[in-house]
Symmetry: D2
Subunit: 411 residues, 4 copies
Amino acid sequence: MSSVVANKRKIINDPVFGFISIPNDLVFDVLQHPYVQRLSRIRQLGLSNFVYPGAVHTRFLHSIGAMSLMQDAIAVLRQKGIEISHAESIAAQVAILLHDVGHGPFSHVLENTLVRGLSHEQVSLRMMQKINEQMQDKLSLAIQIFTDEYSRHFLHQLISSQLDVDRLDYLCRDSFFCGVSEGTVASARILKMLNVLDDRLVVESKGIYSIEKFLVARRLMYWQVYLHKTSVAAEQQLIYILRRAKDLAHKGQDLFASDALRFFLYEDVSATDFLTDDSVLDKYALLDDSDVLSAVKQWQNTGDVVLSTLSRGFTNRCLFKARMSESPLTEQERKELREQYARHFGIDEQQACYFFDEYSVSKDTYSPRDDSIDILFADGTTKDISQASDMLNLRMLTRRAVKHYLFYYKI
Amino acid sequence: MSSVVANKRKIINDPVFGFISIPNDLVFDVLQHPYVQRLSRIRQLGLSNFVYPGAVHTRFLHSIGAMSLMQDAIAVLRQKGIEISHAESIAAQVAILLHDVGHGPFSHVLENTLVRGLSHEQVSLRMMQKINEQMQDKLSLAIQIFTDEYSRHFLHQLISSQLDVDRLDYLCRDSFFCGVSEGTVASARILKMLNVLDDRLVVESKGIYSIEKFLVARRLMYWQVYLHKTSVAAEQQLIYILRRAKDLAHKGQDLFASDALRFFLYEDVSATDFLTDDSVLDKYALLDDSDVLSAVKQWQNTGDVVLSTLSRGFTNRCLFKARMSESPLTEQERKELREQYARHFGIDEQQACYFFDEYSVSKDTYSPRDDSIDILFADGTTKDISQASDMLNLRMLTRRAVKHYLFYYKI
Amino acid sequence: MSSVVANKRKIINDPVFGFISIPNDLVFDVLQHPYVQRLSRIRQLGLSNFVYPGAVHTRFLHSIGAMSLMQDAIAVLRQKGIEISHAESIAAQVAILLHDVGHGPFSHVLENTLVRGLSHEQVSLRMMQKINEQMQDKLSLAIQIFTDEYSRHFLHQLISSQLDVDRLDYLCRDSFFCGVSEGTVASARILKMLNVLDDRLVVESKGIYSIEKFLVARRLMYWQVYLHKTSVAAEQQLIYILRRAKDLAHKGQDLFASDALRFFLYEDVSATDFLTDDSVLDKYALLDDSDVLSAVKQWQNTGDVVLSTLSRGFTNRCLFKARMSESPLTEQERKELREQYARHFGIDEQQACYFFDEYSVSKDTYSPRDDSIDILFADGTTKDISQASDMLNLRMLTRRAVKHYLFYYKI
Amino acid sequence: MSSVVANKRKIINDPVFGFISIPNDLVFDVLQHPYVQRLSRIRQLGLSNFVYPGAVHTRFLHSIGAMSLMQDAIAVLRQKGIEISHAESIAAQVAILLHDVGHGPFSHVLENTLVRGLSHEQVSLRMMQKINEQMQDKLSLAIQIFTDEYSRHFLHQLISSQLDVDRLDYLCRDSFFCGVSEGTVASARILKMLNVLDDRLVVESKGIYSIEKFLVARRLMYWQVYLHKTSVAAEQQLIYILRRAKDLAHKGQDLFASDALRFFLYEDVSATDFLTDDSVLDKYALLDDSDVLSAVKQWQNTGDVVLSTLSRGFTNRCLFKARMSESPLTEQERKELREQYARHFGIDEQQACYFFDEYSVSKDTYSPRDDSIDILFADGTTKDISQASDMLNLRMLTRRAVKHYLFYYKI
């Protein structure tokens, strides 16, 4: 069936980048795979829409957008004389299309509750391998590029590095849907400045200011969107909800949940199970935002005070308050809070712990340790951006900014 | 609690219109009402994201955007000397904020399956009345304006007429999120041209070309987005899924569903029940997209061939094909199709009817019968746009365009 | 020298379409030709900036933008299997780059005063031939395409037809710089829908709504921008200024003017002179907006009442008033106006005629007589858009809209 | 006459900010003043269109845009409880409308050639005073605010400080017309964050990231646009052209020039003459881009080798080449260059100096010495942005970046 459809619908309309072409049948078949279609039911920014109500775009569209930037990047590099074969081009596109396929709904929340000890990157790789099996190994090169086992390192860097098309897409896209115009980065311009030297991605020196701007925009998006205290508060609340639900499940209480969600609530799944037992992966592949939202909504009416209170708050946007704090709570302060909530709700102090939390968020803007951004000068030499820019310097950029928060349920 | 929050968050960031201010506490409280928060889990365009993957924006943001245009419209009219009191201004904003509150998930689908015989307008009014009761009648003026029982007709027209802020918002917004730039209308410009004559909204004559453009953009959006054959096909498929689920429910089969969805699957609810029995409304107010999506996904694994086949297709984007046709199927053709599906799936011919459908969509661009667009000339006279424009003429605009489709499951 | 420069600057930054690439050295050399550089001193919209102060963009940028759309159009057609050779591609780009090269400053004004009887198209062709001589006949194919003498008609249609890239660029560009967002056409989308059938450009049928929208946008731009009464009034005023200056010149009065402008003021140049005498073309090729603006500014202080009054008004934006009228002035009314201005300025009635004018503007939206827009249906048949659209009809679209104005100097 | 016009045209269409309202008759009359209308013939970015062909916007539109931001800023401050009277509001708008009125064509060029020793700020003030005399002192408050002699300092800061509406407009506007999207600053967002503390403008602390972004965008615009080497090269070439013309004028040679330009070529005008002799100001007020462009174009055909060569190059975009250099030329190198050009053109070594130049450009991103950006924290304290930001630090921001160039005519 897919081949018929493939003929009919080769262009996707993206509000951010305009028309995006699906280059061939393989990419189309990958797009149609249930693992990928599932991303169309998972929001890219999880709970950010509590703050930015336009931010409801999906991981599906992000993946397609990143693929489109990959097409542009390859065209730019080819124009500069870097030879990239058709097979490499398609593989790089497939790899970026699938780079996030392992994400679950509210990924950060899930990794702290139902699927502990497992990163979405590991799941992505596992899923790619499964799709590869189903598609007669046509994804092998894509997987090699994804895992950086292919001989040409720069192709991997286009997928995962400080300047990869993943970041270029999500900064553009997230700022677009949030309405935070300041987060926009000039993707087209940055791509135009890319080059390859000794099998590594470099940025031509006239692109220095664009890179500075890119780093500042990214930083702004972190503090203004990704780590916005209200989003983080909502995440904490959802973490507590799922933890409480799991506790109750383990005590044998029957909770409303789809089969897929039920599995992860009632079973204890280890990272190993995940990577070895296909039935676990199959369950996971059925999860999306709707399972969680629908269950939490129904849990409003559960008998348990903790679960129903937090679920009702979550559903009706009565979220944890966030207060920035200089230092962690003292033992005494924690005790008082416990007592206060216990008294208010008529619950024990252990349950009272579900109504407040401490949290630290930290972010460094740029870390050359992991992977640098190399600037290429006219004389053929390169420097790391932290050396090349007279504005940015290493100390400043690598300094971790840390913020402490107290989250608590307003009573 | 809400008043505290109200102090903190009076500006909403909208990717379409920028910063939108919440004007006062009443509006904030309305925004926080569970009926309204629920709209943040209902997509404005239902299933259009199968075609336009960016089109996942919610009815919540549309309502806020329309409120913002109402603020602009009032400011324009006041500048032209039309007196509008503070109370009227707030009421008009509340009315537009709530104009769509009665929408359920996939509204058109629901009205054809679970809540037959009931329009979302009726539910909106019922919900407004309920909120009004809870808020000490502070919404009475808003409701009067909504129902056109208030003495000043033009305020109602701003909410519901050929040029209301509802339309101006959704055309802008839907085209923005779909990435169909041609659907954009110049809302700001059109609002600048509004005036009031004899208690009716009129458009100043220099706005004629903008109105022509507005009508053409609307028409384009209808055919290119709202009535796109793939969206309509997906809707038909979902209608069949829910009808089959309801059939099975009535036969006593146990299907996965949230309590709210279960209620409408297993009970037969009449329009009267809805408007008289608060418990029915309460159930309805718990429904959103997640209930439907989550259930359909799980129904993939139901024993029933019809339900599982259609649900699996819906979840994995294997949708009904649509073929435009000149004329309806003959009885003979219908019979052959029934036999074909019956044979293929090993089901009876009655069940086979779930795999194809005929459908006609029709739309007239502009109908002065319902409500005209009056153009105000410098000499104080007015003409209907179909008279005032030398391009548009009544016959053309009021001609209904009709398209016939055959939808069928590809085997 | 140019080849060195060519290496350095192959990308132009266009606020409308983003990065535009200069494809090869020939195109670069054409861009650097003095005839083309001159377009960077000629505003695309003449005097429209009196109404839309942002509309100061030049014919130079329009030419480059149109070239960019030509690149896109060729890419689309090649993707659909239409073979277009490299030589044809470059020639088409050169042809569109030069399609307006014959424009003088305030083209419409000049054609009514200093260079009567000569269209800018004729001058464009003459200039192309001159450049061709200087560039060893490298432009011969471009000229053939421009004049429709090349065997492949559709290439000419891309340059000059109802849907040429000239129109697509200027509608986008003019609406962008004017800030009239409603005039924008979805160039990218329309180009995607182009195809070639029997050597003619056609639009695929799913593009019908875009074409409708294009025609309406064009119509809107005509009435709201190109034929805006204040721009037309300013044009009329400039026509009168130049006519008066020419009269005075012929009477032997010494007026400030650059050599190039002086030539056309003091000599009577026929169309034949133009096309046969290279020295006339050389003079013309030196004219740009600055000659006219600078001269008119200085003529404020001329002794002649007519010339100084109109020039002072023009320089300080005291323009002719425009009043729409149903019918032409009667002989009696004309006489009264003449007497009034004669009395006011102490001039004779012949001179008084310089202070008012009548003018009719007319425009038909679409005329299939000249060149149709053919819609291609799935079954391979074509229909003219006026037949294919259920909204537009021939009678309506071909009806000429006419408006009469009286322009007069306010005293 | 103007009052009549005032009634008719109170809204200006700006491609950057949309509709801009002229608030009252005084502002309209100021807009219509010949000093201000003259700005519509002076390009905001001088010669930047040699690099960015879209950058032909005028100082007129910039002034109007800045006025529009002033309206927004005042509305924001009033909403926060800062009382600003109607008279203050109008005065602030008039002051910003006139803040650049003293600019001549190619301001930097002129200040280095024809009007040495005089800043455009001084001329702006002088012109404001003249307009004030003509308008019955209605501009007195505006002038006080402009010169910071009014009691409320923050009103002056809105016109002239690190975060004034002048900068906010020109960064937005210049990046828009250049097509350098990275230079855009979120003016609307920054304005929303303004407040007044102790009569000084401050930025609320949640605006820190926006301010960081603003500083980085400004820095990018400096190096990518304002100090782009090709623009600077073109400026140097024009400086040499005017110097050579002045030399020839002083030697008694007759050169083509409008009366206004002629005056400054043939007379030696001191700064004192300017501020004391109204006839000098009157001449200056007649100068605009067209006088310079038209004259240089004609000087192509002058007998003088230096003037004709440089003028021909300027007119046909054969500009000085720019080469970045580490150190200044040695005396020996300068000598060799002089000899080379002298030989090539058959001129003496003094004239040969007109064909090359050295130039240093420097820029600090932010200098708290001049005027700081104060960040207001929730506890009521303020810090300078260089203290408040964990990314920016004083040392880095105040470090002057310097670049040396050699400019030379390519032979």
